[in-house]
Symmetry: D3
Subunit: 62 residues, 6 copies
């Protein structure tokens, strides 16, 4: 606790994911007082064919 889920388009490098998880955890600890070892982060990749804004899939956007 807390539990953080980050949903992004696929394509970030391992290095970006590693940094993202670390800095987001820092931010949660600093602002909520949660213990660092209790902060859980889940990363979820979205494909462009699974994500639409305005009724159009990203894989179909020009």
């Amino acid at each position: 606790m807390p539990y953080v889920t980050i949903k992004m388009l696929a394509g970030r490098t391992d290095e970006q994911k590693r940094a993202c998880v670390e800095k987001v955890t820092d931010a949660v600890v600093e602002t909520t007082g949660a213990s660092r070892e209790k902060v859980v982060v889940f990363l979820e990749d979205m494909e462009k064919s699974e994500y639409a804004v305005g009724g159009v899939l990203f894989s179909d956007q020009a």
Copy 2:
């Protein structure tokens, strides 16, 4: 806003997904007054080995 997530068994064609996202977005815009460009849709595929009803996985159902 709004954010719509549609979870289905895998196997729909790209054409079905495209139509689903478009028509669901139409329905949300028409009934809630949300701006079309703010409607977000996420599609999530489930495998038959990840989905159970009545305690039995779909991959095990006759």
Copy 3:
């Protein structure tokens, strides 16, 4: 199956929610071939103090 989750800012009337659920179900049935009686819809209300874009809560936006 399918399972549809619709997350919106609170404030829609019961009439809007009823229409939204009905029309979204129509759209899913029409485009995916799912049986109408198997389409499940979950509505989730968000408060303005629980939703941020660009790092600012809606309750804090001018």
Copy 4:
């Protein structure tokens, strides 16, 4: 109804997943009075590179 989602690190065998779904369904039926045929279970696999505790991805833990 009820809808149960079980998120675990990937790597369980089909036999473990089958048993997990069956026993969790038993537990829900026994304790809530829900009809067995209405209990839905979704399994979600996490990769070690998508899951962090304490700011460190599992794929980076010694």
Copy 5:
């Protein structure tokens, strides 16, 4: 890890929720080999006005 989310119509007693969480945890530990102290369960109540099957909200079903 594992993380279990149980979504049900509101109305279960505290005693039912307590038993549900305990028995579901037992089932997960027994079938997956996870350590008991690592099993996390989230309960989520749904209102009848937020849940529809076949395009009709439960609050509207006869």
Copy 6:
């Protein structure tokens, strides 16, 4: 995009939530290159009676 969900026990102040959303957004922008105005954060409060670790609800823990 990205979409961040932060699930925590209820009880944080508005000031803590405001800071959390801002700093988490900073962290995501800095590490993933996403545009700040595209980062969406959802906050979700859990009650102690809806959250269990090791099979025991937080509301029952000594």
